[in-house]
Symmetry: C2
DNA sequence: TAACCTACCAAACACTTGTTAGGGAAGCTT
DNA sequence: AAGCTTCCCTAACAAGTGTTTGGTAGGTTA
């Protein structure tokens, strides 16, 4: 990261069209997801977009800004869906089911962003600019863990498990899917959610009838 | 990557002591795991090791070699354990249990290497040098998926699930643990394995007795 | 004491990185 | 026709990158 400018916050390109920005952000997200943020040079992004490196700076004021915009756009949409689910006043089991299903829908729509989030969020959240990642993660934990706890109290979830372990288990099983999921595969997001929920809730072992 | 030399394959430092190499590789693995391979500069590794960047080249002939050695050492040990389990001739359920337990032990011992593997293996396996990662992954899939299929035939695992989905489910739940696991935590690897297996096999929902 | 080996340092190298400044072609507005 | 706006290119910059070369302090061996 050269040219460390003294906080002169240049105003971004107000003239650039939002559709083009979206387009470029989508290809950038794709490259970030495939190669990793740090391994991705702005020249690679420009290549994928059919332009030269410097031209990107007409639309964005830094590589970091692109990443920022990709992640925050994703999180905004994600919480839009989550908040709707959480406000519905469902029971614990139904809440978990709805959250998982919603998550797979988000993976379907924001595969690249989710993959980036998964790979980079831990290192990024140390940076002040990306502190909202930590905030989101806390909110996330509160929602999921809270629902699990409610479920244990209501005797719909097992009480003999470490609840935090259970939380990480459920959370991870859902979100790692972004690493292999490809839209247009043989299973719809809803079908994947159904099977995942079946495994998480009832296990993969065959029970004697 | 500057100084593109014409394939003059310099012989590595035969004089360097193996213990010191191990020591340096351990600190390198720690930095790689924390920051990501590409984001890690050789100067950061040298810093963590208390020496200067150039001095690393007395022990290793490139940054890539360090990564290579870290990953291949881990995989060697991993397959040592796996092969023992697979050769034991256990039933499907017992094999899965043993594989999961063994995996958590490996995570305990090679936390950094596992984390690196998780983050970088997909991009690395394209490079010829790291093609053994793909080989390992195939062997991995064969072992796990095969066991699951045997289990379905033997009626110890459910047959109403997409078997490949199940495979990825089990695989991922185990290995993502490396991203949050810290040795010396409140649960031993064996205890984590026990609870994970309980969740994967029987689910988290409370069943009516 | 002399020669040698081990493990490091100091300083540079060639190249890549994110970013910027100035320019210009096409299209729209006046 | 003149001016303006949008979107890109050309060409460079300064800092950071992995790596090499030559040197050297301290221990071991002869």
């Amino acid at each position: 990261m050269p040219t460390n400018k003294p906080t002169v916050k240049k105003k971004p390109q107000v003239t650039a069209s939002p559709e083009r920005r979206r387009e470029l952000l989508d290809t950038a997200a794709e490259v970030f997801a495939a190669q990793g943020y740090n391994a991705t040079t702005v020249r690679k992004i420009a290549d994928a977009a059919g332009m030269l490196a410097g031209s990107l700076y007409y639309h964005f004021d830094s590589k970091e800004s692109m990443l920022d915009e990709i992640l925050s756009a994703f999180l905004t949409e994600l919480w839009d869906g989550y908040d709707t689910v959480l406000a519905a006043g469902l029971g614990p089991r139904e809440t978990i089911e709805a959250l998982v299903t919603e998550s797979f829908r988000e993976i379907d729509r924001h595969r690249a962003a989710v993959a980036i989030y998964q790979k980079e969020s831990r290192t990024l959240s140390a940076q002040p600019r990306f502190h909202y990642l930590s905030d989101s993660q806390q909110k996330f934990e509160k929602a999921w863990l809270g629902t699990l706890e409610r479920g244990v109290e209501a005797k719909v979830f097992r009480s003999d498990l470490d609840i935090r372990l259970t939380y990480r288990f459920v959370r991870d099983t859902v979100w790692v899917a972004a690493s292999w999921y490809r839209p247009g595969g043989q299973h719809s997001p809803e079908e994947i959610a159904r099977q995942y929920l079946s495994m998480v809730l009832d296990g993969i072992a065959l029970r004697p009838t």
